[in-house]
């Protein structure tokens, strides 16, 4: 159905306040799940691992004392034996520390992620649920699309958030008992910015749930194409440039460093810089989080394709396989569940990323060095993109569960898919460059 420069992106929907209130219930569930994950992983298993680490550290201290004694008064054989015992104890201590960090970081990351998910669902959903019913639906299926003020609201929120962010951080540090003076002005500015940002997101969410005519470009070079799709590609150009700057700084610095790789390749003699890949690629276990993340992103790219295919498939039939039929009982639920699987894989990516970071930091690879700075900024920016994608997908899951996606409004999944595949594409470059090379 095309009218001049517009075609319909699905019919308009009436989403009642009680439907929006579901988000508040889901938010409470997410909050509870996050706290439970923290309790089990960081509080439960993490505590056990911490006591194991303490025991291992105690053993290390004892073996160090024994080695010192052997060095002062023992024979060469005794010194060597004590040295061997210390080395073994050191390995056990490092392994115990990393094991503790794995569980503790995983628990904390899941909790923080779920709190953000809950805030996103709860605040944005609640904001929409208190609108008057007329606000949700004007009853005109041929409503003209006027554009949205929500991005401007969101940009204003981000502005305030960033202005107050330094104060927000120092205030949080002060509250955590660290030696900082709280900056309440910055904290309040950042908090107000966050609320405005979430309100903007909520408003945009409501507008999209209702459905609207798809605007079509009327002039070259995108004539006849959906404006949203063209806009998404232009946005992806800017994203390419963002990641290109990370790569250019990395390549520029890397060509000047004498790394283990350069020594192995015979380009220089003495290692002067340790890169993240030096710490990660030497062993299967250290490379495993990065490798699993690569597979997770590829699988998630495929599940988003399946969600789109299912939404657009008017002849969709339930699988004859019992498990698949249970997982994907109807077309509407199949789309929702594919999106949920994508969220689960993206969340796994974030958890493993932070676990891996905690290990690198524990081994002394911090943001203080040039190599660390470039690594953490590049992989962190990528992780942030994944996390923003997850927040968008939370909205899409809600839409898939309520209004539903079909052949008319499936474009939303397609355009989000472009972003998600781009994030996958960026990882295709980051993984070999920062983890394998």
């Amino acid at each position: 159905m095309e009218q001049g420069g517009e075609r319909m992106s699905g019919s308009l929907h009436d989403v009642k306040n009680e439907v929006w209130m579901k988000t508040v219930v889901i938010a409470v569930g997410l909050l509870f799940t996050g706290l439970l994950a923290y309790g089990v992983l960081a509080g439960g298993v993490g505590s056990i691992k911490h006591s194991e680490w303490e025991d291992a550290h105690h053993e290390l201290e004892n073996s160090e004392m024994a080695w010192n004694v052997a060095n002062e008064s023992g024979t060469i054989a005794e010194q060597n034996a004590a040295g061997k015992v210390w080395e073994d104890a050191h390995h056990v201590d490092v392994d115990a520390h990393l094991s503790y960090l794995t569980w503790s970081t995983a628990g904390k990351t899941i909790m923080v992620m779920f709190i953000v998910y809950a805030a996103f669902y709860g605040v944005a959903g609640f904001f929409n649920s208190i609108q008057s019913e007329e606000e949700h639906y004007e009853g005109d299926d041929h409503e003209e699309h006027h554009g949205s003020a929500s991005p401007i609201l969101m940009a204003g929120g981000i502005l305030l958030f960033m202005m107050g962010f330094p104060g927000f951080v120092t205030t949080c540090k002060a509250w955590l008992g660290l030696d900082y003076e709280p900056n309440m002005t910055g904290f309040m500015l950042s908090s107000i910015g966050t609320i405005i940002l979430i309100m903007g997101i909520g408003n945009w969410w409501r507008e999209d749930m209702k459905g609207y005519p798809e605007q079509v470009a009327t002039s070259a070079p995108f004539k006849g194409q959906d404006i949203r799709k063209a806009g998404m590609w232009i946005f992806l150009i800017s994203e390419t440039m963002v990641f290109a700057t990370f790569f250019s700084s990395y390549i520029r610095m890397r060509t000047g460093w004498c790394t283990q790789w350069a020594v192995d390749a015979g380009r220089c003699d003495v290692v002067d810089t340790t890169t993240a890949s030096d710490l990660l690629r030497h062993d299967v276990m250290t490379l495993l989080p990065g490798a699993i993340n690569t597979f997770a992103l590829i699988i998630s790219s495929y599940t988003i394709v399946l969600a789109l295919k299912t939404a657009k498939n008017v002849n969709w039939k339930k699988s004859e396989n019992a498990l698949m039929a249970r997982l994907f009982p109807s077309r509407k639920k199949a789309v929702r569940n594919y999106l949920l699987i994508t969220i689960a894989l993206g969340s796994l990516f974030i958890v493993l990323k932070l676990v891996e970071w905690s290990h690198l930091i524990a081994e002394g690879f911090t943001i203080d060095s040039q190599a660390g700075s470039i690594f953490f900024v590049a992989t962190g920016a990528h992780g942030l993109h994944v996390f923003i994608g997850l927040l968008i997908m939370l909205f899409m899951v809600f839409k898939a569960d309520t209004v539903g996606y079909d052949e008319k409004n499936g474009r939303g999944i397609e355009y989000f898919g472009l972003y998600w595949h781009f994030v996958d594409l960026a990882w295709v470059a980051i993984f070999p460059a920062f983890y394998l090379y």
């Binding site: 250019s248 060509t255 790219s301 495929y302 295709v428 993984f431």
Partner: protein, 134 residues
Amino acid sequence: MGEHKYTGPIAGTFQKMADLIGKDVYFVNFLILMFLTLFEVAAVFFTQIPFTEIDITRGAVWGVLIIIGVIKGYGIAAFFMHLKGDPFIYTRTALFPVLFVALMIWGIGLSNPDGIDSLPAWCTPNWDYSYVTE
């Protein structure tokens, strides 16, 4: 996102593989991406080609990583991002930043510590380095 048949040397091969196993191109692309990821991880771990005594040099690994990265990038952009089936304007849009990336790489080359005396002649036509090297 159409269900049309892909043609051409690379996309056509993907299509033939999909027809062979009775699945769509997206599934074949997914399998190839998974396999290539395994291959690039294996390339870093092995110092010799398995069952031979041929050493895998760092240069060879570097080449493998670049080639696999390009193939994986093509698979994602062409099929998952539908550039292969969409109007060509989207491919042109996607390739637009390549110009800037090429300029960046050129800049990296010029500002490289070895750039003063190791760049090829075509890159430094008649430049006088005497003020730097003296």
